[in-house]
């Protein structure tokens, strides 16, 4: 099933790679970070190549990771440390600028329960993980410097158990720390020895997914605190997924919301598959193809925009694309929230009757828009029409009118 491009944002700098995307649903926008050190925010409804938020020199070099803190705050990190940005501000300076004693290259970020964690590259013998409390960021709340022996590539706070923090590294270990233990020597709750970690997520309260740099994927159970007895199920190692998933030369990422992005840049292919998080199985019957995606360049991030039947992709060709999906992907509810489970992936999860009718309206509108968009000449006129419609719809449907005014173009 194919998806079609709704809009294409192109980077102005040459040989710039767009590396990460973070969605800000309440303001219908997203932020993209790039290898030239820039942060740019764009609207998902008023499609324009002019960013609504732009910090061209956010960092001195390639931005390694970005993390959404709340609807107006974003953290980013690079060789010049971790910076926290207020997206409503017109200034080009961050509200916080954090680093460690060695001014290491920060590779990864994690956010949870008012705490921002940053992981560094290996410098000498140390790869450090530092945690700051954003309510009082002058001092580091605590650090872990003895728990990894190579670059820390991903950090995740447990969604519900606030004292658990997970970090993954190219040394092949995924560590889970208990922040209630004061001493680093006692805080190590669990070590999973798998392989060089590209990403690790809590896919449920007790399950951890690990995607490696060798394109292997495994699921492990979060251990309970009864260390003498093993009650946990065996890990589920899917091995090298390139041999079992079609057209897979690399995996963009496995998203705990229930989908996985799979690419084959030598064939200019990108696909999105629903992933059953409970069963830990990919649904190969329902692929979504992104024709030509980002050419023969690697796609670095893929995000499904919830409740809109659209998705965003960005890649090493310097482009960001908004795609119309052929069907609504049933998202898993964030961990900790209860959701009525309906059978069959095609049906939508019924969370709110209001949002459902909203979605239906949106779908109808989008179907109409789809037909028009087939002819290139009409596209421009229709974009203008869309903007007018969107503006009217936004005013009616959105409770917060302020969100339109928040991001002022410079």
């Amino acid at each position: 099933m194919r998806s079609s491009v709704l809009f294409d944002w192109q980077s102005s700098t040459k040989d710039n790679w767009v590396l990460n995307l973070e969605l800000f649903p309440s303001s219908n926008s997203f932020i993209a970070s790039a290898s030239d050190g820039s942060l740019n925010g764009y609207s998902l409804v008023n499609h324009s190549n002019t960013p609504i938020f732009s910090i061209p020199k956010a960092h001195e070099s390639s931005i390694n990771s970005i993390k959404k803190i709340d609807e107006f705050t974003l953290a980013s990190c690079s060789t010049d440390g971790v910076k926290v940005w207020d997206l409503r501000s017109l200034s080009q300076s961050p509200i916080h600028s954090l680093t460690n004693a060695k001014s290491s290259n920060f590779l990864s970020l994690g956010y949870g329960h008012n705490l921002l964690a940053g992981g560094t590259e290996l410098v000498g013998v140390d790869a450090e993980l530092h945690i700051w409390d954003l309510r009082n960021p002058q001092e580091v709340v605590r650090s872990f410097i003895d728990s990894h022996h190579d670059d820390i590539t991903c950090i995740e706070f447990h969604p519900t158990i606030s004292n658990y923090l997970m970090s993954g590294s190219t040394d092949g270990y995924v560590n889970v720390y208990d922040l209630n233990e004061q001493d680093e020597d006692d805080a190590l709750h669990q070590v999973i020895n798998y392989a060089s970690v590209h990403s690790c997520h809590f896919t449920s309260e007790k399950r951890i997914s690990i995607l490696t740099h060798m394109e292997t994927l495994a699921f492990y159970e979060l251990n309970d605190t009864n260390y003498e007895v093993i009650a946990e199920p065996e890990p589920n190692d899917l091995g090298d997924v390139r041999s079992s998933w079609p057209d897979c030369e690399y995996v963009v990422d496995l998203n705990p919301a229930g989908y996985v992005g799979v690419g084959a840049n030598s064939q200019r292919k990108l696909a999105l598959f629903p992933f059953d998080i409970q069963q830990e199985k990919i649904d190969l019957e329902k692929p979504v193809w992104f024709a030509d995606a980002h050419g023969d360049e690697v796609v670095r991030d893929l995000v499904v925009v919830p409740n809109t039947q659209t998705a965003l992709t960005c890649g090493e060709d310097g482009h960001i694309r908004l795609w119309k999906l052929p069907y609504e992907l049933t998202p898993s509810a964030p961990i900790g929230q209860k959701v009525d489970k309906t059978e069959g992936e095609a049906s939508d999860i019924e969370v709110d009757s209001d949002s459902e009718s909203e979605r239906k309206k949106e779908k109808k509108e989008k179907k109409k828009k789809e037909k028009k968009e087939k002819k290139e000449k009409k596209e421009k006129k229709d974009k203008k029409d869309k903007k007018d419609k969107d503006k009217k719809k936004d005013k009616k449907d959105k409770k917060k009118k302020k969100s339109d005014v928040r991001f002022k173009p410079y």
Partner: protein, 217 residues
Amino acid sequence: MSKITSSHVRENVHKLLEFSNETKKRNFLETVELQVGLKNYDPQRDKRFSGTLKLPQVPRPNMTLCIFGDAFDVDRAKSVGVEAMSVEDLKKLNKNKKLIKKLAKKYNAFIASEVLIKQIPRLLGPTLSKAGKFPTPVSHNDDLYGKVTDVKSTIRFQLKKVLCLAVAVGNVEMEEDILVNQIMMAANFLVSLLKKNWQNVGSLVIKSTMGPSFRIY
């Protein structure tokens, strides 16, 4: 569709073995390394290139191992001739960093009984992880000797800031055929992980520890 032919590799392996075994034989067992020179790869921006590969035959037979086992596994370890430590032995270390560091230095790698893996971080703290030697689990159903061989056959590869990567693929006492096979396996696997495959490879060289290098690509 590999860009290196096994006949070409064989030629060079032959020369390499000839040198190390006849021309200038050394007093120790030389390891054969595959050195990959990358091009068009940006270590800052590109996706990471690192992982492990299990080879059919053990490249470095002198790897030392120790098993952290429960009663069952300690017995098994003794029967296959591998040193072992029990939970009591580990508890005796009393989480003393210096002692654990010493232990980490003594052995190249560790294996631990599956039933004990959960306890290892609590018993030993992060010191083993820091040394990069956190144990690999083995269950009672696994063949212990097989697991030991697995660990010994696994090579790590990692690209850091420089565009050169070296992995041990064998030793000079191996059969020519096997060596050729291991080199091909390693080379093809590494290339499959590169985004532009062979376009990212500048050169491939095989070399014995003390010998000259032979270019195969």
